[in-house]
C-alpha cells in the first residue's frame, strides 16, 4: 500500500474538459481533454499564451473549480473538495489586510486549531526564515510588494503542505525583487522537495525554476509539449540563464510556444491577466 501511494502522482489531471456558456448562449470550450501527471517532489512549470486556461488548470488542482468532464486525483485519491494537501500562492495579494503579518502567517495553524502560543512561535520562526523578523506587527499595506510575497510564502509553507500551487506569484514584482524571490523559493523548495505546480507566462522563469516545463496551447487549451529541464541544481536564476544548455532549451521550447503566441498574444508582464 505504501509503495502504491509513493508511486501515485502528486497531481494527475485526467481528461479535463472545461466549457463555459457565453452570454450570447454559445458554448465556449476553454480546454479539451487535458491529461497530465505530476510526480511527487517535482517542480513543474506550465507556460502558455494568455487566455489558454493555465489558471483554470491550477484552480482544478486546488479544488476551487470542478471541471464538468474529467477528474483530478491527488496522491491517487480523486479530489472532491478543497485540496487538503495543497496551499496556493496567488498573483494578487491574498493576505488578510486586517491582520498583522504575524497573524496572517499563523492563519493556517489557527484554522487547524493549533494552540495560539505554539502557532505564534512557529510563525515567528517562519518570518525569520523569510527575512521578515521585526515586521510581525505590521499590516500588509505597510509592506513592500516583495515583503508581502515573503509573508505569503511563509503563510503557505507553515502548514506543511505536500503540494504548492503558484499562479504567477511574482508577476507583479520588479525584475530585481523577482529574481531574489525566485532564488529564495528555490532555496526553500530544495530543502523540502515539495511538489510545485507553477504557472507563468515567462518562459525564462519557467526554465530557470522547474524540473519540467509544460507548454499549453490555446483555443481550446491542450498540451503542446512537455520538456525535462536537466539543468544542475542548486540553481541561481540569474546565472542559469547564461548556461548554454539553458539557451538551447529556451530556443527549443520557444519554437513551440511562438506559434501559439503569434496566434493569440501573451500576457503583458506585470499585468493583471490571470490567463484563465
Amino acid at each position: 500500500m505504501a509503495r502504491a501511494e509513493a508511486e501515485a502522482p502528486a497531481i494527475a489531471f485526467e481528461a479535463i474538459t472545461v466549457r463555459f456558456a457565453t452570454p450570447s448562449g454559445a458554448v465556449h470550450t476553454v480546454m479539451s481533454d487535458i491529461s497530465l501527471a505530476i510526480a511527487p517532489g517535482t517542480f513543474v512549470a506550465i507556460v502558455g499564451p494568455s487566455g489558454c486556461g493555465k489558471s483554470t488548470l491550477l484552480n482544478a488542482a486546488a479544488g476551487l473549480l470542478f471541471p464538468p468532464a474529467g477528474r483530478v486525483t491527488v496522491f491517487g485519491e480523486p479530489l472532491t473538495g478543497i485540496n487538503p494537501h495543497a496551499t496556493y500562492l496567488f498573483q494578487a495579494d491574498a493576505l488578510l489586510p486586517w491582520r498583522t503579518v504575524l497573524d496572517n502567517v499563523k492563519l493556517g495553524l489557527v484554522f487547524r486549531k493549533v494552540p495560539d502560543a505554539e502557532a505564534s512561535s512557529e510563525a515567528r520562526a517562519w518570518l525569520r526564515r523569510v527575512g521578515l523578523a521585526g515586521f510581525e506587527d505590521r499590516f500588509p499595506h505597510q509592506l513592500s510588494g516583495g515583503m508581502r510575497k515573503r509573508a505569503a510564502i511563509a503563510q503557505a509553507w507553515i502548514v506543511g503542505p505536500r503540494i504548492l500551487l503558484m499562479d504567477e506569484p511574482f508577476a507583479s514584482l520588479d525584475v530585481q525583487t523577482r529574481q531574489i524571490m525566485e532564488n529564495e523559493l528555490l532555496g526553500l523548495w530544495q530543502e523540502s522537495k515539495k511538489t510545485v505546480l507553477f504557472i507563468t507566462h515567462d518562459l525564462e522563469e519557467a526554465i530557470a525554476l522547474a524540473d519540467r516545463v509544460v507548454v499549453l496551447s490555446s483555443g481550446p487549451a491542450h498540451i503542446k509539449g512537455a520538456y525535462d529541464i536537466d539543468l544542475p541544481r542548486p540553481r541561481d536564476v540569474a546565472e542559469i540563464r547564461l548556461n548554454p544548455e539553458f539557451m538551447a532549451l529556451y530556443r527549443r521550447i520557444w519554437g513551440d510556444l511562438r506559434e501559439e503566441v503569434m496566434k493569440h498574444g501573451i500576457d503583458g508582464a506585470g499585468g493583471p491577466g490571470h490567463g484563465a
Partner: protein
C-alpha cells in the same frame, strides 16, 4: 536629502490650512449668531417666531442649572442607545443570514424593499398602540430605522469580499465558521461602520419623534411642550441640544472606527 525641506514645507502648509479652516469655522458661527441676534433685536426678525441666540443659550443654561433637562436627556439617550444596539445586532444577523443563504435572500427581497420604502414615521402611531407611551415604543421606532441601514450595509459588505482573499483562506483549510469570523465579518466591517454613523442619527430620530408624538419624558416631549406654548426659544434649545448630543456620539464612533479599521491604507 533634498526631499526633507519639501516635506517640511508641505507639513507646515497643511497645518496652517487647518488653523485657517478652524478660524473661519468659528468666524462663521460668530457672524451668523451675531447677525441673528442683531436682526431679532432690531425687529427685522420677529422674536416670537425666531427667538434669538442669547435667549436660546440662556434657556439651555437654565435647563442645565435647574437640572430640568438631565432626566429628559437621559431618557432620550437610553431609548436611542437601546434602539441602536438592538438595530445593529438584528441588522447584522439578518444581513449575514441573507447574504449566506441564497434562497432566503430571494424570498425576502421584495418584502425588505417594501418595508424600506415605507416612511417609518408612519409606524409611530401603531407602535405607540402596541408598546404604550413609555420607552418601548420609541425604541421600537428607532430599531425600525436602524435595522435596515445596518442590514443593507452588512449584506453588501459580505457580498463584496475579495474572492482571492477568500480562496486563500479556503486553501488554508478554514471552516465555514472560521471564514465568517476571519474573512467575511472583518471584510464587511468597513461597510458596517459607515452605516453606524447614519444609524446613530436615526436611532435618535426614532426616539425624539416617538416622544414628540406621545410621551411624558424625553427631549421630544420637551420640544412638544415648548411648541404647545408657542415657546420658540424652548424649541430651538431642544433642537440645538439634540444636535450637540449626536455630534458627540458621532465623534466617539469615528475614533472607534479609526482604531478598528487601522489596517486600511490611508486614502
Amino acid at each position: 536629502m533634498a526631499r526633507e525641506p519639501d516635506l517640511a514645507v508641505v507639513m507646515t502648509r497643511r497645518r496652517a490650512n487647518r488653523g485657517l479652516v478652524l478660524a473661519l469655522q468659528i468666524g462663521f458661527f460668530v457672524a451668523s449668531m451675531g447677525a441673528w441676534e442683531l436682526l431679532s433685536r432690531a425687529g427685522w426678525l420677529d422674536p416670537f417666531f425666531f427667538s434669538m441666540p442669547s435667549a436660546i443659550f440662556a434657556r439651555m443654561g437654565e435647563w442645565m442649572w435647574s437640572g430640568y433637562i438631565w432626566g429628559h436627556l437621559a431618557t432620550t439617550l437610553i431609548e436611542a442607545m437601546a434602539a441602536f444596539a438592538i438595530g445593529i445586532v438584528a441588522g447584522v444577523i439578518a444581513g449575514v443570514a441573507l447574504a449566506r443563504i441564497e434562497l432566503l435572500a430571494a424570498v425576502f427581497d421584495p418584502y425588505i424593499r417594501v418595508m424600506n420604502a415605507l416612511p417609518r414615521v408612519i409606524l409611530a402611531p401603531i407602535l405607540i398602540i402596541w408598546f404604550g407611551l413609555g420607552m418601548a415604543s420609541k425604541i421600537a421606532l428607532g430599531v425600525s430605522l436602524v435595522f435596515f441601514i445596518v442590514f443593507f450595509n452588512t449584506f453588501q459588505g459580505l457580498r463584496e469580499v475579495d474572492p482571492i482573499v477568500l480562496n486563500n483562506a479556503r486553501m488554508l483549510q478554514a471552516s465555514d465558521r472560521q471564514l465568517m469570523r476571519h474573512v467575511y465579518l472583518p471584510s464587511a466591517a468597513a461597510w458596517i461602520f459607515s452605516s453606524l454613523h447614519t444609524s446613530i442619527g436615526f436611532a435618535l430620530v426614532g426616539a425624539v419623534v416617538g416622544e414628540y408624538i406621545g410621551s411624558a419624558r424625553g427631549i421630544g416631549y420637551v420640544v412638544a411642550q415648548a411648541q404647545g406654548t408657542f415657546d420658540t426659544t424652548g424649541v430651538f434649545a431642544g433642537l440645538i441640544l439634540t444636535s450637540i448630543v449626536v455630534l458627540g456620539i458621532d465623534l466617539a464612533i469615528e475614533r472607534l472606527e479609526r482604531y478598528l479599521l487601522r489596517w486600511r491604507p490611508e486614502a
